[in-house]
Subunit: 288 residues, 6 copies
């Protein structure tokens, strides 16, 4: 169960409105790597965690924090939209700055939300549940978490460079910091999983003996770039072998004889070219 | 530019049809962590890579391989559907096994694809472009790649346990192996990026000095689990500090005075409870 | 900012596993009227609320409760999946009950979530941000809230009839109760908005004098059912007028002459039938 | 079965083109509360209505009208795009007004539709079937209808303030009027359902005696706003009780022991912190 | 403007309920090539048609018919669901037929629609506006129409083979017939466009002289199948040339130097392998 | 299996950056008729093709080429974005051209992709698997292919007119040429299918004798346009009959008596108007 305080985790006060930037900030709310994603990803991971204790508690601590990040960003967006020229017509544009703002604004923040944030990204694509993963396997999931925090921090860093507003920058400095520590904590938790003997370095640690031992340590040179084997991954004792001229291992890909009642194009008497031999099949392609 | 051979990278021959399993395999084709995802993720990363040489070549080698994985799986699905009771009515079910198959089949594999694979997951949700990421930052992207391969291998391992068919298992052993080596290669490439001095351990390595130094090394104890600080992440010299009773740093979250032409509910004379004081505002909520 | 306790708002303990039912319960988690919807709808409404006090506080109380409802349902789903025949092959089905379960299970709860809930509905369609509305206008939004709670309670009632498990029914009785009181509270809050003079009975209360007065009180009889005017809405002093034989008020719908550089099919010399008169236009349809 | 006349229900003639506004109007065509939504919502409700007569006939009258509203808006959009600078390059922008128009236009109206409307909203998100509801329960559905008309009228009112074009405003006055009467008719029909004894004030009227009687009349104070109980909903005889310090009723949320073949992270010998006791489990996390 | 009669275009009466088949029929309602698609495709094409007369009138005749097809199918689905075991638990399955039905039913037809059709396909994926095209170019659009009717008839034919119910088959015979004539009419209309000199055989007929004349009549042999040039398309005077060993015409694909403020991984001093030469760049990858 | 060369199929070098145009080009990458669509459509058709030889080989040749088209366009987009004012604030706009560019740019190309292409269209909607079709029936699929190439060429032609950049135009001339030949090849392959006796002119050629012979050659005059029968489709010996005043063939559309446990609104004693007769049903709408 959850409780809420009206106080924000960190202040979210822009110095002045900036409706175009309010659109861009949507990426951090409802984008694939926005705060709604980490909120829901961590919540479902926590609820689906099969091992009580430190891991689950760390997940739930972080999940609960992230709901508050959505809150900070939604508040910031509403404030950036204060006094926005929502109902200005294009004809009213008097100067290039206004023109850029008018052209670049998110019309749904005005028409749909009345001057507030929406659960969507900077192009208006709605957030969806496929952005998250909660597999029950903590190694696989903590990798996904570290990756999500990395993409999130990267996008925050880019947005940090897109504004001069001291109030916005102040909040983004806090967000950058939280993304840094969250990256670090998931990387540390991965080490801990391995130290605890719960997971190996490959996720999942299962079936490693059953998987195809001939093909689990080779890079296939399938693009003609000459340097794919110049990394240290291709050198040393534990190197991954680089197959310079790999050949297909399977036969030709082909689909089987079709079910006649599904009407795939087919002839029982076709030759290799697909031409019908002898008595031509009727134009009705149902094979009898 | 690409070229194609009809030969599959690895054989994809089931011993017998299994239409229900053909549905489940869709997860590895068009699911969020299926082969379409890694194909497109690596292709866009390669095309968007800003640094020529070993990293880009490794990405393109792997991307090109993954297209062939979609091909193997699509071929396998078509073969698993051979002779499937696509047009059997429910009344035709004579035994429980058939009933389970009929109930569990993907109707679109028959109705839409005529007995073949579709670019969708095991519940029929179509693959979409938001499943991938290609940010230009290789640390952030390789983390995402290692995470994708981990989830992909995990799902493959689960599916491996859901079949007894030796032909299917043979192919999945190959897939497991490729997922293992791909995980390994991205982890190694992350180390290489750091060894080359191109990226640090936090993505992106930028703005680390500008970010909020007070809050980039603390875990906020916001869920009441008692063990969030029991990991080694909370011990030692480089520990992340655990705030046992963190307080909000910001003021109350509130939205500014609305634009009257957008008709948000508001009264200029409301008291703290939202009740209008003195002369009641007209029912028309446009503030004049 | 939010805080979390590990204790559930209400107990979520099924008496026995039921994996098919676990799929159906997904509708209450990630369906269009599931708990993720009301959670996000109320959160965004609260953050975007322009009038401090009783309305906003009520919204935030309810929003915070709803996060905990997602938690209860996700927990229930994981428990219903305990011991589910996730890796049983169709061939393993020994009796009709098992067959129905196998056929009807959600494969992604096993393959993707490892035996847990996913942020999707009972057909696997992911939850998305378009399910919610937060317009800033409280009358419009409270109507949407009452409607959402009504659909939610209706679906819960249907699901209540689909199980015999006493533990599941116990939790659903709680959910039904909460949906009842939430419906009631939004209906009461609508009355309060009107009593406070903040909104009228039509949302928004604006532009009522400017809108077309001739057409704001008529039902157009456009389907040939004979009873559309038999309700009390068509009787009494404040009746809505029923136009028995309404005529179109506009001219023909037609699209203007196209931009030649966009290559819409068009001929400057066509007659009314679309046939080109005199010198035939060249096959190149660019108008010169 | 349907019939169509070329005449529009109301005139849709702008005085002059306005391509930026043509983008905004897309919200009323293909947005979540646009005319495609009410068209399809009412059609499916009518087709799924289980009670012949006045309710069904009213639904079908309105559904049929709404198809004509999509037609009016699509016609208006095509006309607003006449002579639009669809193929102007950014370099051709000579003044701020043109710049705002160029920046703000919907590129798909030109590239995809050749200067016409698309079945999408003002950010290009396609309309989808999840926007509608047709549950068979008329109380729940009429609530949804009144809510949809409220949001639709609100968006129309906002768009009315975003244009000065007399032709556009004339049509929107008609739309506002229709949204007003449609709101009214659904509210009246809700009263009628109750007067007819078909539904109560809570939807559905079923299971009210079986639901949890202890928790169907309480608001849980879970956010720290002080005014959630200051509305009249918390006063009087039929007040909803306000729980000032509500406690969780359930035990801790936890997920059960996982299926070993699904490889969730787990150890049979872990302690409360998640640390493995005694003999460390192998790195392979399959529980044997 | 539209009008509606309660009479269906054709009878839609199944002999007996078949809830599993009711799920499959959803493909013809809300699938990519279902009746909602042709309805909306033709409506938007008609509204966006730039040439008055025979073409537009044919489009609108057909569009209006298709709305009635959605109606027939939605009615059929509701009737197929009559008496469906919507609330039967899996445990209640007593025989394999019931098991197949239970496992294969669409749970949303019961939970969401109360025993009726939904605007979604046979896997529950909602219909969306991207399924349709209305480009303004009639040749391009009539090709899309003929293709849509072909896929639609194909799916109808497959579904025809999946039922034994005489009532369902009777209606599907009508649907098959309508799909046949609609295919024919669009093919005939394509010939007419060409006869009228409005379009050529390539869509659009524009820019044919400006396009690259060297590469507009060659097939590139990029897959190693030996028979790609064995069709008559590769023989005769107007043959398409088959390039047996085509070479890339462009230089290497590469992305330009990145914007340093967007933090793509890059080093100004890297060598061809991506290794940094000389003084290593700091771990902070911002280029200064 | 696939192989890749770093050389592009055709050069993709713009003369100068144009970030607004880079957004528009997204339509050709990830739009419904962009290169990702034809890539995946042809790949799945090839993998699902049931007839070996010339048809399948042609499909795979073309599929393999299309992957390279996505590559060319992604490369072009990255180059058009070089030096884009990604991090310029709106306030920095100094002239209308810059304003139009700023307003019209795709923010995700910067924030998400770091200055590169994304798998989405010009409004940011992600590409999805429902854009493609691979039915197994080659006539139906080749029609879809010819239609896709027609829409693709049309969009390319429109985009050709939206730029003055010689480098961009050079590449688009190549794309136009490839779209021309691909249209031609699918049209020729359709003729070949018929010449080979594999398919007729209607897809599928099956069930033509079983379909309703009374209604497979009539156009229903359901819209009041007077010219729907003025095409040659309505003249000559093989004309399609035009029904001037068609009547519905079915009875009234109605839904059956509902399942009481699903709580659709219903009364066993209602009259034709929906009013309950005699003893009013209780407000609880469960029918007993």
């Amino acid at each position: 169960m959850f409780r809420h305080t009206k106080l924000l985790q960190f202040e979210a006060k822009p110095e002045r409105p900036d409706p175009y930037y309010a659109r861009k900030l949507q990426e951090l709310i409802g984008g694939a790597y926005g705060e709604m994603t980490v909120t829901m990803q961590y919540l479902f991971q926590g609820w689906n965690c099969r091992i009580e204790g430190k891991y689950k508690d760390l997940i739930m601590d972080t999940a609960t924090e992230e709901i508050g990040h959505v809150e900070m960003l939604a508040t910031m967006v509403a404030r950036l939209l204060e006094g926005a020229p929502a109902t200005a017509t294009a004809e009213a544009a008097q100067d290039p700055v206004m023109a850029a703002v008018l052209g670049g604004m998110d019309p749904q923040q005005a028409i749909v939300a009345g001057g507030g944030a929406v659960p969507a990204d900077s192009n208006g694509t709605p957030w969806n549940g496929k952005y998250i993963v909660a597999s029950g396997n903590l190694l696989a999931d903590f990798r996904a978490n570290a990756a999500a925090e990395a993409q999130g921090r990267l996008q925050t860093a880019r947005l940090y460079n897109m504004t001069d507003d001291p109030g916005v920058k102040e909040m983004l400095k806090f967000n950058l910091a939280r993304d840094t520590v969250h990256q670090k904590q998931w990387l540390r938790a991965i080490e801990e999983l391995q130290a605890d003997g719960l997971e190996s370095d490959i996720a999942p640690g299962a079936l490693l003996d059953e998987e195809d031992q001939t093909h689990n340590n080779t890079i296939w040179h399938l693009s003609d770039g000459p340097d794919g084997n110049k990394g240290t991954w291709s050198t040393g004792e534990d190197r991954i072998e680089y197959l310079m001229d790999p050949k297909p291992l399977g036969g030709p890909g082909s689909a089987p004889k079709p079910d006649p009642e599904l009407y795939a194009t087919y002839s029982p008497t076709q030759d290799a070219m697909g031409t019908v031999k002898g008595k031509a099949q009727s134009a009705v392609n149902k094979v009898t």
